[in-house]
């Protein structure tokens, strides 16, 4: 059975189902209990599973992330709530120095199966320290996996896969998508990590989009279709590991590619994707690769400024038109 639920509800459903399936899965974080987490994903969990498996923490991001790693090496599968995601940067030591190196240090003796839930991206009234999209900060670290869904279906399936994965996974939840509705099957399914998805097939230009940029790219594709430009939208869904095969297949088909994300353009994940496509797919290129990302500034609080800084659908449309016309 399939029905429409929100991105937030899809995540919550994944947590419910995984906690029922495996007693080693537990949730930890600030306000994760009756309050339901700062972004409302964990509402209802403590009522079903109790305070022993929905662990409310003091404001101690470094401390409780380190503690979560301590439980993970002992066989647990913590899902760590990072509230408004920017606080993940407070806990970088235990994510990058501890969790990411656990498999390497223990050399097979144990693992660090953790999920860090990081809400990311622009938030009205957020400002420079509550609107970041810091996946690129972590994507350079071997030992970590990075996931960013763009639909309720992917959110549930990827969350379940991330919880079952034996590695530390940073799970980025674009804040703007929490209320997005979409079709989600009832019951169990997973979306494997490291597999991209063609969200809309096309033949003229590929748009590689992540997170909140995926629905924008799909809208742009529909519009440009009316003008006879066929746009293929590809969502990598996982940024590490990156499904290079699906991206290269799309480039082979279209020969033209725009990459768009909410994170800053400089050193953003788009740079890696562009470099990979240029290195491995240069034979297919019919036009220069275009990258779109936020302008090089901390994220401002004003909505008008945010719209100026973050790539908008019209920016995607302009880039696609230019590439389509490139001879």
């Amino acid at each position: 059975m399939v029905r429409e639920i929100t991105f937030r509800e899809a995540l919550r459903e994944a947590l419910h189902e995984e906690m029922r399936r495996d007693s080693k899965v537990y949730v930890m974080g600030e306000d994760a209990g009756h309050f339901g987490g700062l972004v409302g994903v964990t509402i209802g969990l403590i009522e079903e599973f109790g305070a022993g498996r929905v662990i409310e923490t003091p404001i101690s991001e470094s401390g409780f992330v380190g503690a979560a790693v301590g439980t993970a090496v002992r066989g647990f599968r913590p899902v760590v709530e990072m509230g408004l995601g920017d606080v993940v940067l407070v806990a970088v030591d235990h994510i990058v120095n501890t969790a990411a190196k656990t498999n390497y240090f223990y050399d097979g003796q144990t693992t660090a199966p953790l999920v860090f839930r990081v809400s990311s991206g622009f938030r009205p009234s957020g400002g420079p320290q509550q609107s970041q999209t810091p996946e690129g900060v972590f994507a350079n670290v071997p030992g970590l996996k990075i996931v960013m869904p763009s639909t309720p279906y992917d959110a549930k399936g990827l969350m379940k896969a991330a919880i079952r994965d034996d590695n530390p996974v940073l799970f980025f939840e674009p804040k703007q998508l929490y209320n997005m509705k979409g079709e989600v099957p009832v019951g169990d399914y997973t979306v494997p990590l490291g597999v991209a998805d063609v969200k809309r097939p096309g033949t003229d230009v590929t748009v590689v989009a992540t997170g909140v940029m995926v629905p924008s790219a799909i809208r742009v594709a529909a519009e440009l279709g009316k003008d006879g430009i066929s746009v293929e939208v590809v969502d990598p869904r996982s940024l590490r590991p990156l499904d290079t095969g699906t991206l290269l297949n799309s480039l082979q088909k279209t020969g033209r590619v725009v990459i768009v994300h909410e994170a800053n353009k400089f050193m953003g994940i788009g740079a890696e994707i562009a470099a990979m496509l240029a290195e491995e797919g240069y034979r297919y290129l019919k036009a220069p690769i275009r990258r779109l990302g936020s302008k090089e500034t901390p994220m401002p609080v004003s909505k008008f400024m945010g719209e100026y800084v973050i790539p908008q659908p019209r920016d995607i449309a302009t880039a696609v038109r230019e590439l389509a016309a490139y001879q």
Binding site: A68, G70, H94, F105, N167
Partner: protein
Amino acid sequence: MEATSAGLEMYRLMLTARRFEEKSLALSHAGKFSNYHSCLGQEALGVGACYQLERDDIVFPSYRGIAVRITRGFKLKDLMAGLFHKSVAPTRGRIPMHHTPNIELGVWGTTAMQGSIPPIAAGSALASKMLKTNQVSICFFGDGGSNRGDFHEALNLAGIWKLPVIFVCENNFFAKSMPVSRSTAGGSIWQRAASYGIPGELVDGNSVLAMQAAVRRGVERARSGDGATLLECETYRWEYHSTEGDREKEWAAGLDEWKAKCPIERFEKVLLEQKLATRTDFGRIGSAIDAEIDEAVAYAQAAPDAVPEHALENVYR
């Protein structure tokens, strides 16, 4: 002290750590391998703390963890091969010897971030609580590490959650070149325990028996569900922070005073006074250790170098 054999066994472990370190320092100074972090002079601390632990208790050593590892049953040849970064070492040349975990021996990971281990140990204790096992977690860190925010966060978590964990601060009075007198406000680390509602204790870290007794009290608390303990154990390292540097002037000034408090000589005196051992026993034990160390060095030197491709294994599971 329990029995003659227990006393002599602790003596053997301390002397093994001492001789192993002396050999390692000599090899490092001779350029056989780089950068050795010694805990020469701190042998009583690791041996006394770990000797009575159960096999399945969970130990997170500090960077100066030779005595801890030897007490938990590590083989000298494995440690020595680790120092030479050889392929036969448990670390396979991938990570420094000082990090070697061995879950079977109850020695879990450490981290090069000084002061980052207490939250991990608190988490391990939380796991014991969730699993309803009787296992105690114990972690070691330096006086320097106790000034990190992680120290505060971990002790607070251990306090509110009543975690079965023992925090052992190895106060050797210097964080590399920085003395406690200039780094640590309030002049005491153990007294900080009061603010977390857990007992704190100042321990003579150069007395293996004092260490044993203090940790035993912590273990009893932890196993009976009373929660965490903080021990500040005073000791002194007899070497520079590592073999890479020799510019620690303030540390050098305190060396003679602390060499007079040698933990091994002190324990010899106790054993002799209580007629639990003779000088002949000490000599016999020392010779056996030296032979074992020579064997370990020969084994490590003859072993094949690290295999470059092993660098890429177990990055992910």
